[in-house]
């Protein structure tokens, strides 16, 4: 176990180095001269000069790369070019809002899609099954944007059940007042593709021999479905959730834009629009690290869930 952990962490180093190189050269060769980008927005010559020095733009590229690596290792990306906020502070202040919205979405998605998928798989081939699959295909073809625009208009503006947008400083207010509408809309949108995917997982399991055996020995259908099929189908479901997990940190950027939620996703989008390179670089690299760690965690979790899995 420990050896496995060490090896996996060791294997992350080349990938991480690749991520750093990709981001560095992407911004170095295609991003243009930061001083020129800033010249449009900052008129103070001295300030531009100090940014050039901070980035080491007057030095060869390997020195710049080293400065970049040092920034990553010391968690010190300096300040945002536009807002002067420290990049490290950005994470601390924006992440809570994102998680307040994304964690309920993720949980509700799983807890609604799994029973629905099991139901649809149980009545497979029937009219209900085909109707639900057809509705899912149709629901998936409408852009996410339409659901948000329409939902915000109907529930926020016309009916007035929820505030159209907004955010406060209190966690409880946010969760109970401002988060519900974005969460409901996102869950509604996510339900169709999830149900369709999980349905195939359940169908795979239902066709296995052990299910026939369980039925043959006269087990109750509920026991067959909830005890035998559900437990086995949860393994691919778990894989799918762990694949989605990293995206919860920025995945809600559209929702954050629509509902003016001061989260990380909206911050990255603002940074892209303002050419605020340090913010984009920092978020990209740290989330890549986080993604790799989450994937490792998911692999360890398999071992707990499925004893057949051997960690090598």
């Amino acid at each position: 176990m420990a050896a496995y952990l060490v090896r996996r962490l060791w294997q992350m180093i080349p990938t991480l180095a690749g991520v750093v190189l990709l981001i560095f050269f992407l911004f170095k060769f295609f991003g243009g001269d930061p001083a020129e980008i800033l010249a449009g927005q900052i008129s103070d010559k001295q300030q531009i000069e100090s940014i050039r020095q901070q980035l080491g733009l007057d030095q060869p590229w390997w020195v710049q790369l080293w400065i970049f690596v040092k920034q990553i290792l010391t968690f010190d990306f300096g300040q945002s070019w536009m807002t002067k906020e420290k990049v490290s502070a950005l994470f601390a202040t924006r992440l809570p809002a994102t998680l307040t919205v994304m964690i309920p979405i993720l949980l509700l998605d799983v807890f609604l899609a799994v029973p629905l998928a099991m139901l649809v798989a149980y009545v497979r081939g029937s009219l209900t099954d085909r109707a639900i699959v057809a509705v899912c295909v149709l629901a998936m073809s409408v852009s996410f944007l339409v659901y948000i625009i329409f939902g915000q208009y109907v529930f926020g503006f016309l009916l007035g059940w929820f505030p159209v947008q907004g955010w406060s400083d209190h966690f409880a207010t946010n969760l109970l007042k401002y988060a519900p509408l974005p969460v409901i809309l996102a869950v509604f949108v996510g339900l169709a593709p999830q149900t369709r995917l999980y349905r195939t997982f359940f169908l795979d399991e239902i066709n296995h021999d052990y299910v026939r055996t369980a039925r043959a020995k006269g087990l109750d259908e509920r026991v067959v479905m909830f005890k035998h099929v559900l437990r086995n189908a949860m393994i691919p479901v778990l894989t799918n959730v762990s694949v989605q997990l990293p995206s919860i940190f920025v995945g809600s950027f559209l929702i954050e834009v629509f509902f003016s939620i001061p989260g990380l996703g909206r911050e990255v989008l603002l940074a892209v629009n303002r050419s605020d390179y340090p913010v984009i670089q920092a978020v990209t690299i740290y989330l890549a690290v986080l993604t790799m760690l989450i994937n490792l965690g998911a692999d360890l979790l398999y071992r707990l869930v499925d004893p057949r899995v051997v960690l090598r």
Binding site: V137, S141, S143, V250, I280
Partner: protein, 351 residues
């Protein structure tokens, strides 16, 4: 050598079993849903081709109707927005304060007034209603939706082609050669998949800027990893098969074995991936354009239409939202169903 070829030709003529594609077509013909989806997709492609060469919707930028003209099936109604805008342009009765003694441009006003008089402005007859309604400037929403389809589908298809090309070539090289080439490409794959896709797209968008070509490039460069994975697995499987070893024995080069011998045998995987990517990229383009990272302002796509529709909905003008949504929903549904049918037709084992 020529004798050998002749004999091969004769042998082929004797035992003509239908090829992969012919067999797939036969299976597809028996699938009514697949055929219907194919018909819808072909209709859309004809429409956007007609729009691309200027047969339809060439005048989408023309302000044919009054601002926010109602759709024809609703009929004429009181149009507050159009009235208030008309009022703004007509109201010239108010006298401006004379500032000619401090205005540096004052001496040239007479000259400009003369030049203006020489030009004749055509104020087009603005219609009160348009077939599917008008937008803020009175442009025909139907024409916009057709032009928007052209841009959105064009971006989706070409970005998918770029991504599939990269994924297939990388996957083929990695699966075929293995060893250090395979390791190197696996490393690149790991790097690209380590970064959450949306952040990768944002990072590329931040440095490359905006425009249709840019969107295609960004989506292509960030979306090839899934195809790579599948193609590589196929090549790993095929490279040690007998037909490839036979090709080696008769002196086929590496390139010939990769692209002439193995590629046709994995092309069904590539085709299904391609059509999955088209749908994914159309959705991505819509979101990018909505956020202002996609197509430029002087063009229209489903995404920019939805962007405008957000503000229109508040004042009750729902038709642009409806037009963009309906066009997109029909095309994406048809294309998804076609993809499913293609997969069934190309790989009968899955049934």
């Amino acid at each position: 050598m020529s004798a050998v070829l002749e004999r091969e030709g004769a042998a082929q003529a004797e035992a003509r079993s239908p090829g992969v594609w012919a067999a797939a077509w036969l299976r597809l013909k028996e699938d009514p849903v697949g055929l219907a989806a194919l018909a819808v997709v072909l209709a859309f492609l004809t429409l956007i081709l007609a729009s691309a060469v200027g047969l339809t919707a060439a005048d989408w930028q023309l302000e044919k109707g009054v601002p926010y003209a109602f759709p024809r099936f609703i009929g004429e109604r009181e149009n507050i927005e159009a009235q208030s805008m008309a009022g703004m342009s007509i109201d010239k009765s108010r006298k401006a304060i004379d500032i000619s003694d401090v205005d540096p441009l004052a001496p040239r006003y007479r000259e400009w007034a003369e030049r203006t008089a020489k030009l004749s402005l055509i104020e087009p007859q603005r219609l009160e209603t348009l077939f599917a309604g008008g937008d803020r400037w009175g442009r025909d929403v139907l024409a916009k939706a057709i032009k928007g389809s052209q841009v959105s589908i064009f971006v989706g298809v070409f970005a998918a082609l770029v991504a599939t090309l990269i994924g297939t070539v990388f996957g083929a090289l990695s699966g075929y050669f293995g060893r250090w080439i395979g390791d190197g490409l696996e490393w690149i794959y790991n790097v690209f998949t380590a970064i959450p896709t949306i952040l990768l797209i944002f990072a590329f968008a931040a440095v490359f800027g905006r425009g249709i070509g840019t969107v295609i490039l960004i989506l292509g460069l960030t979306g090839w990893t899934g195809t790579y994975r599948l193609v590589r697995a196929e090549y790993l499987k095929h490279v040690s098969r007998e037909y490839v070893r036979a090709a080696h024995a008769i002196g086929a080069s590496h390139a010939s074995r990769i692209f002439v011998h193995i590629l046709p045998n994995v092309s069904h995987v590539v085709l299904v991936q391609l059509s999955l990517l088209v749908v994914a990229f159309i959705k991505a383009e819509v979101i990018l354009s909505f956020l202002g990272l996609g197509v430029p302002i002087e063009m229209v796509s489903w995404g920019t239409m939805l962007g405008e529709a957000q503000n229109e909905l508040i004042i009750g003008k729902w038709w642009q939202l409806a037009a963009a949504t309906v066009f997109m929903a029909i095309f994406v549904t048809a294309f998804s169903l076609l993809t499913d049918a293609l997969r069934d037709a190309l790989d009968p084992r899955l049934r």
